[in-house]
């Protein structure tokens, strides 16, 4: 059941973003920033974390989820370390994800070569 929820929720989020990309002329970079900021805001409003608990990977994998992770990390760190937490928290929480992206991206570039688009 949780697989179904994750698939449907994740799919809906991606479909909405695809519609945004196709209907507006917004550049992909701007869309990504929009998603991260929206996720952070929804996290701060206590909306997104419950959503993650409901939909699992369907909510945490899209970039909205990344924005939420940044917020969760910051909130925890501010409670522990005050103002310093504002700067440290986001990176601490997202460290695994960012590091994985870097390492796997690098490994990918070592083992694979780009090909022309067809």
């Amino acid at each position: 059941m949780e697989y179904v929820k994750a698939f449907v929720v994740g799919g809906i989020i991606c479909a909405l973003v695809q519609i945004l990309l196709e209907k507006t002329r917004m550049l992909p970079g701007r869309v990504m920033v929009l998603l991260v900021c929206a996720g952070t805001l929804l996290g701060a409003l206590q909306i997104y974390q419950p959503f993650v608990e409901f939909a699992g990977a369907g909510a945490s994998v899209p970039l909205l989820g990344f924005g939420n992770v940044l917020w969760q990390g910051m909130e925890e760190a501010i409670q522990k370390e005050g103002v310093l937490g504002l700067f440290k928290g986001g990176f601490t929480a997202s460290s695994a994800g960012i590091c994985a992206a870097l390492i796997f991206g690098y490994l990918g570039s070592l083992f694979f070569r780009s090909k022309m688009r067809k």
Binding site: L21, R25, S114, M116, R117
Partner: protein, 351 residues
């Protein structure tokens, strides 16, 4: 002697000839409507090189090699090379052509570079500063994506309205009438009618404030309209004086805009207008969105499609107007609009 006419045109009394031309294209272009017409279609888009920029250099090198072979000339006989490409600092041109050791004028005209190179070669020959001058230009899909959008590795989505940069290089030999009479005897595949560049109209930069990188046709159409308008005015001609008016890469959207812009100025070109970007790909089958683009688009289409028709006498006179968008990744990201430019050449088959 040449004559300056109007604001921005030249008419050549002793018109230089296009002695020979060559076209090299990539796999996608080879699968397109003009695929069988190119001198060389390379199925391996890396052209045997490690990097896409080096591949584009090879493209140009091959185009010049075929040009020299078809004309039976050696590099030493060519006085000047006018060449350019889309990459920063025109590296494809520099690295591609340096081995030929021909005095080089490196150029940048965005996708209008073919028109700029041919115009300058024609001017140089007509003025008596060279008997033989070559004009070369190229573009490569992968290197252009890296230059203007994202490297292929980024795997970004491309909207259907985006154009597809042509992987191709066109090379042309421009020569004086005297030189032509001497050399033409030795060229085996010379068809009945020699082709001359009888006049040029050099474009001005025209900016209608378009900021949409996905609509290059709209950005360049005003420049094409301006060039065509002034050309017809300077020469005192009408659209029907030409078999075709061929733009470089306006695509279907740009074509509509061009025809409308000229219509507003009292000029109707719907019957004569053709566009290399529309000619080079079958957009329905090949998924190429709005059409082909890039310096190579107009260059290979001129070489493979329109010059042979002129030589065979199927066309008598065309106006060749490659179009370019003068943006950079930086200017675009910093919020500037996309100015356009277009250069016109009158190509005639001479009895």
């Amino acid at each position: 002697m040449t004559e300056q006419i109007g604001r921005q045109s030249l008419t050549f009394c002793e018109a230089p000839f296009i002695l020979q031309n060559a076209s090299v294209a990539g796999s996608k272009e080879g699968e397109g409507p003009l695929g069988t017409l190119f001198d060389l279609v390379e199925p391996d888009d890396t052209f045997g090189e490690e990097k896409w920029e080096m591949a584009e250099s090879q493209l140009q090198k091959q185009a010049v090699k075929i040009l020299l072979s078809k004309s039976g000339l050696s590099p030493e006989q060519i006085r000047y090379l006018f060449a350019g490409d889309l990459l920063g600092q025109t590296i494809a041109t520099s690295f591609g052509l340096m081995d030929y050791q021909i005095p080089l004028f490196g150029l940048y005209g965005a996708c209008a570079t073919c028109g700029e190179a041919l115009s300058l070669a024609a001017m140089t020959v007509a003025a008596g500063y060279a008997d033989l001058a070559a004009a070369v230009t190229s573009s490569h899909f992968a290197s252009a994506e890296k230059q203007f959008r994202f490297p292929l590795e980024y795997a970004n989505q491309r909207p259907m309205s985006a154009t597809w940069t042509v992987t191709g290089s066109g090379a042309f030999l421009v020569c004086s009438p005297a030189c032509f009479r001497e050399k033409a005897k030795h060229i085996s595949d010379q068809e009945s009618f020699p082709v001359a560049i009888t006049g040029i109209t050099t474009g001005k930069i025209v900016d209608y404030g378009i900021k949409d990188a996905m609509n290059m046709g709209a950005a360049m159409a005003p420049a094409a309209a301006d060039c065509i308008f002034h050309h017809l005015k300077d020469f005192g001609r009408k659209p029907k004086d030409y078999d075709y008016i061929v733009t470089g890469d306006l695509g279907l959207v740009g074509q509509e805009i061009l025809i409308e812009l000229l219509r507003q100025r009292g000029i109707e070109i719907e019957e004569q207008h053709r566009d290399c970007g529309i000619d080079i790909f079958d957009s329905k089958v090949q998924n190429t969105g709005a059409g082909g683009s890039g310096c190579g688009c107009s260059a290979v289409t001129l070489s493979a499609c329109y010059l042979p028709k002129l030589r065979q006498g199927k066309l008598k006179r065309i106006l060749f107007v490659p179009t370019g968008a003068l943006l950079s990744k930086i200017s675009f990201n910093e919020g500037q609009s996309v100015p356009g430019i277009a250069h016109g050449l009158v190509l005639e088959s001479v009895a």
